[in-house]
């Protein structure tokens, strides 16, 4: 846990430095007649973030926080597996939005999650995988008129929209 705290502090410190550098692309000082430059607000806030990161790392090294005194691992093997499966399947689903669209990605995600992660029956998995995209379509596309990404499946929806409108 202590190592994770220090690594996170350093990573966030580097990110703060990057934000300071990017903010400084706009003026960070006083501009006559205009007031503070456009980069001043994020620059000085990032500078405070950097100072906080120094304090976080220092406190971690000196074991001044409960996390840095904890002997527990940051993530157990089981936690890493659960985290990787959940976050990974979410990333794959979002990636699939670009290719097969929401109505291909959602059933694929549900089949993976319910059948292979949850161990549910094919019948229950099928019911959810079939009806969830239909409910999503009716609510978002028909009721809210918000178009979800369809990827290469876009032409398949033309007759469906023709039916509703």
């Amino acid at each position: 846990m202590r190592m994770a705290e220090i690594v996170m502090g350093i990573a966030m410190g580097v990110f703060s430095l990057y934000l300071m550098w990017k903010s400084a692309e706009l003026p960070i000082g006083w501009i006559a007649g205009e007031g503070p430059g456009g980069g001043s607000w994020p620059f000085w806030l990032s500078a405070i973030m950097l100072l906080c990161c120094f304090a976080i790392v220092y406190r971690g090294v000196k074991r001044l926080t409960p996390e840095s005194r904890s002997e527990e691992p940051f993530m157990t093997d089981q936690t890493i597996k659960l985290f990787a499966l959940n976050a990974g399947s979410l990333a794959v689903m979002i990636g699939l939005f670009h290719i097969v669209g929401a109505y291909g990605a959602i059933p694929a995600f549900l089949i993976f999650y319910l059948r292979f992660m949850g161990g549910h029956s094919w019948r229950l998995t099928g019911i959810f995988a079939f009806f969830t995209p239909i409910a999503t379509f009716l609510f978002f596309e028909i009721a809210l008129q918000k178009t979800l990404p369809k990827g290469y499946t876009d032409p398949w929806f033309e007759p469906i929209f023709a039916f509703f409108y």
């Binding site: 846990m1 996170m8 903010s23 706009l26 205009e34 007031g35 973030m49 549900l110 319910l114």
Partner: protein
């Protein structure tokens, strides 16, 4: 008298068929969300906010207000039935609710939680009706320096009273403010922090992307880790006779209910405090002042009544600064405030004069939501118990899909969905290291309001910070902010003194 007339008008709006239907639906949805382990009002409001674009702003806030109320009621259900708080606001309810459930009195505990929530909510909304208009009138005199110093005070409250690690709290506030600055500079119009010209950053980072990332994805990852998908549910028998007996027994707890309601309301008004410390404080006061403190933690009904009345009153209290000053009192109200911006309403005191239908319709809807949440809660206790029996492996993917689609809808940009996943993953890792996340969400909402207030103030004063110390209201807010910022240091010094004395 004028307040009474405005409230009557508000009731006319709240009882329009669409609004009434949304109140009932919102309460039911909120109850289910609140009852799910790990999810609370903030998750429900964040995930469902994108669904409100179909209805007018008044109906939208009425719906979200009802979800907020419903979720505050629902949090107690999983605390009692599963021993897992539905949200942090219901942590104190677990102390006595779980032992009561294990002793076979789950129905009594659930009725006590629902009734106390109703009393807390009622006291809260009455105080809200009385305090909101005068406070809004005072706030009308505020200029940029007052607004900025008020926001600084809100952030300082997180440092002074939040109880979290101070460098991590400050980091969380600042990163929220920086993320709120991404996009085009409001004065020069030049692109700012667009990270190598990525077009998705030009429209800025919608606060919902961060809110759903943290309160949807990160929270679900956290719940999956903590519960490992396995929860044990208590058995409950719910009959009319047992419910009436429970209600009769509750008559003896009215003092605790009122104490919890008033304490919760005033704690809820404080920006960083919200319902969680309100509920814990009410539990502490009830236990300290009780004749039988040894029975607390073993199934004392007052141990449920105190935190439940307090957290519902606090949730209403948190809306007071949101509507009157444009400063949210809790993460949920921060998201409601962001919703107001999306619906094209300027948060703050002017809402009372420019949009009275919106404000009073919302206030009146809180009275109705409070009543419907109570009725739905008691009537649907068996249904909630059935839902809680659903394996988490069914609930989790549905919530994940809602998060992803909900993150896409506001801007219709897949860039935001990827960003939301990144915020969710990083938020989860940071939460494991005890970084408080609520200040970041509050900051990304307030950032776009705080920056122009600061720049305008400095422009007026020619670059001198003295403008924040020479105007009466601003100087008071700044003084409070500095006291709050110094509070942790003072506490440390005071703690060291007795330790040194002991050592002598």
């Amino acid at each position: 008298m004028e307040i009474f007339e405005l409230l009557i008008n508000g009731f006319v709006i709240a009882f329009e068929p669409l609004n009434l239907a949304l109140i009932i639906l919102g309460c039911a949805v909120g109850l289910f969300i609140g009852a799910m382990p790990g999810l609370g009002s903030v998750n429900g409001v964040a995930i469902l906010l994108p669904m409100t674009f179909l209805v007018p702003p008044t109906s939208a806030i009425i719906f979200l207000g009802a979800i907020y109320y419903g979720a505050m009621y629902g949090g107690a259900i999983s605390s009692i039935m599963l021993g897992i708080p539905g949200a942090s606001t219901a942590v104190a309810t677990t102390f006595d609710g779980r032992p009561m459930a294990l002793q076979g009195h789950a129905d009594k505990a659930l009725v006590a939680a629902a009734t106390a929530s109703f009393v807390g909510g009622s006291v809260g909304v009455i105080l809200f009706t009385l305090f909101a208009p005068p406070l809004a009138e005072v706030a009308l005199t505020f200029g940029s320096p007052e607004i900025f110093s008020l926001m600084l005070m809100a952030f300082a409250t997180f440092v002074g009273l939040g109880g979290d690690d101070i460098p991590k709290t400050l980091f969380s506030i600042c990163i929220g403010l920086v993320l709120g600055a991404v996009g085009l500079d409001i004065i020069s119009g030049e692109p700012r922090l667009i990270f190598g010209g990525i077009t998705g950053f030009f429209h800025g980072i919608n606060f919902l992307v961060l809110a759903i990332g943290i309160y949807g994805i990160a929270e679900m990852l956290w719940t999956i880790e903590v519960s490992q998908g396995k929860v044990m549910i208590s058995q409950a028998t719910v009959t009319y006779k047992r419910t009436m007996n429970a209600l009769r027994e509750l008559m003896g707890t009215w003092k605790t209910m009122l104490m919890g309601s008033f304490l919760g309301y005033f704690v809820g008004i404080l920006p960083a405090a919200g319902a969680t410390p309100g509920a814990l404080m009410a539990y502490g006061v009830a236990k300290t002042t009780a004749k039988d403190p040894e029975t607390y933690g073993k199934g004392n009904i007052n141990g449920i009544v105190a935190p439940e009345s307090a957290n519902n009153a606090a949730s209403t209290g948190a809306m007071l600064p949101m509507l009157t000053l444009g400063i949210p009192g809790s993460p949920t109200t921060a998201i409601l405030l962001g919703g107001m911006v999306i619906w094209g309403l300027e948060p703050g005191p002017l809402v009372f004069t420019n949009h009275p239908d919106f404000v009073w319709g919302f206030i009146a809807s809180l009275y109705a939501a409070n009543l419907f949440a109570l009725l739905i809660n008691i009537a649907f206790i068996p249904a909630f118990i059935w839902v809680l029996r659903l394996p988490f492996t069914i609930l989790a993917p549905i919530i994940f899909i809602l998060c992803i689609v909900g993150g896409f809808v506001p801007t219709m940009d897949m860039h935001d969905v990827w960003l939301m996943l990144i915020f969710g993953v990083v938020g989860y890792l940071m939460r494991k290291l005890d970084y408080p996340m609520a200040p970041a969400v509050l900051a990304i909402v307030l950032g776009p309001l705080a920056e122009p207030a600061l720049r305008q103030s400095l422009l007026i004063s020619g670059g001198s910070f003295s403008i924040f110390f020479t105007r009466p209201f601003a100087s008071v807010f700044m003084a409070i902010a500095f006291v709050l910022l110094a509070l942790p240091l003072l506490k440390k010094l005071l703690d060291r003194k007795p330790a040194a004395e002991k050592a002598e």
